[in-house]
Symmetry: C2
Subunit: 193 residues, 2 copies
Amino acid sequence: MTERSRPLRADAARNRARVLQVAYETFAQEGAAVPIDEIARRAGVGAGTVYRHFPTKESLFQAIVADRMHQVIERALAQAAADPGEGLYAFLFQMAEQGATDLGLTDAVAGVGFDLAEALPDAERKFMDTVADILARSQRAGTVRSDVDAADIKTLIVGLQAMRRFRGDSELMHRVYPLIRAGLAVPEPPRSA
Amino acid sequence: MTERSRPLRADAARNRARVLQVAYETFAQEGAAVPIDEIARRAGVGAGTVYRHFPTKESLFQAIVADRMHQVIERALAQAAADPGEGLYAFLFQMAEQGATDLGLTDAVAGVGFDLAEALPDAERKFMDTVADILARSQRAGTVRSDVDAADIKTLIVGLQAMRRFRGDSELMHRVYPLIRAGLAVPEPPRSA
DNA sequence: GCCTAACCGGAACGGTCGCCCCGATTATAC
DNA sequence: GTATAATCGGGGCGACCGTTCCGGTTAGGC
C-alpha cells in the first residue's frame, strides 16, 4: 500500500515474505492466539524480525485478514455472476467452510478480539457491499425470499461458522445446511384450493 | 454431591456461597476469561479462599455450568409439556438468549476451552436426552420436520448462540429466528395440481 | 575487497494469570 | 475464658506473551 522510500534489502524482503506466509497458515489453522515467537520460530527468524516488519501483532493479523477477505470476495462475485440463483447459497457455504479452517477470518467477521469495521473499514464495507450484491442477484433470480437483507446474511454467516467449527464438514453440509437453505427459500404460498 | 466428613464452619460456608454466587454472575456476564483474583475481589475474599473451596478454576467453572444446565433443562421440559408443538422452538430461542448473556454456558455447549462431554458426562447426556425428548414431542405434534435429529438441534443451538452474541436480541428474534423456524418447519409438499 | 548502513536474532522487560504458602484470625468445643 | 483446629487473605512463584533493545552480521554500492 504505502510506497517505501527505498526498496528492502534482498534478505529483508525474503524474510518478510516468509513471515507473512507462515503467519497466514498458522493463524488459519490455529487461530489468532498463536504467539508471535512461535510464528517467528516456524519462519526461521527471530521475534525482532517479525516486529520490524509488523510493528504490532494486530498489524500482522490485519495484513492477513485483508488479503483473505479480498480472495473470498473475488471468488464469491465470480460464482454469483456464473449462477445468480445459486450465488448466495454458494457464498454462504464457502464462508462457513473457510471460516472453520480459518479461525482468523472467523474472528474478524464476527468481530471477536478484533473489530474489523474499525481496523479495516474498507474491507468491511466492501464485504457488506458484496453480500448485498450477491443477495440481490439471488433474490432477482427468485431463489431467495425478498424479506432478508445483507445484515441477516452476515448474521447467518457468523452462525454457520460457529456450527462448522463445532461439527464436521460433511455433516454440516448434509444435515444442517439444507435446513438453512429451506429457511431462506421463497416460501410456498398457502394452498387454498 | 460428595458428603463432607464434617460440616463446614459457618464463615467458610458463607464464603463458599458468596464465591459461587459472584462467579455465577461474573462468568455469565464476562465469560470464562475473568481472573480468579477478580472474582475473589468482588466476593470480598482472598484468592486463597477461592482455591480452598475449588481446587482449580475449571472446577469452579464446572460447578456453575452444571447448575445452569440443570435449570435450562428443567425449564425446557416444562415448556415442552405445556405446548409440545412450540416446545422445540421455545427451547431453541431460550438457549440462544441464555447463551448470549451467559458466555460460560455457551462455551460449555460448544466445547470451547472446556469439554463438557468429558468433564461432566452426566450433564452432557442429560442435555442431549432432553433435546431428543423435546424434539420428538414437537415432531409428533407435527410442527417440526421428521428428518432432523438431536445432534442437528445442538448444532443449531451453537450457531444461534454465536449469532445472538453478534447481533442484538430483538433483531435476531424478528429477522433471523423466523428463517430458522421456516427451515425446521414441515415442508409443504410440492403443488402438482 | 571494503565500508557502512541496514538488518538479524534472541535475550530481556513488564504485565498478566493460575496456583500455592504461611502467619494471622476466628469459630467452636469444653 | 481458653485451647485448638479450621479458615482467612494477600503476597509470591512460575509460566506465558507482546514488545523492545542492542551487539553481531551481512548485503550491496564503490
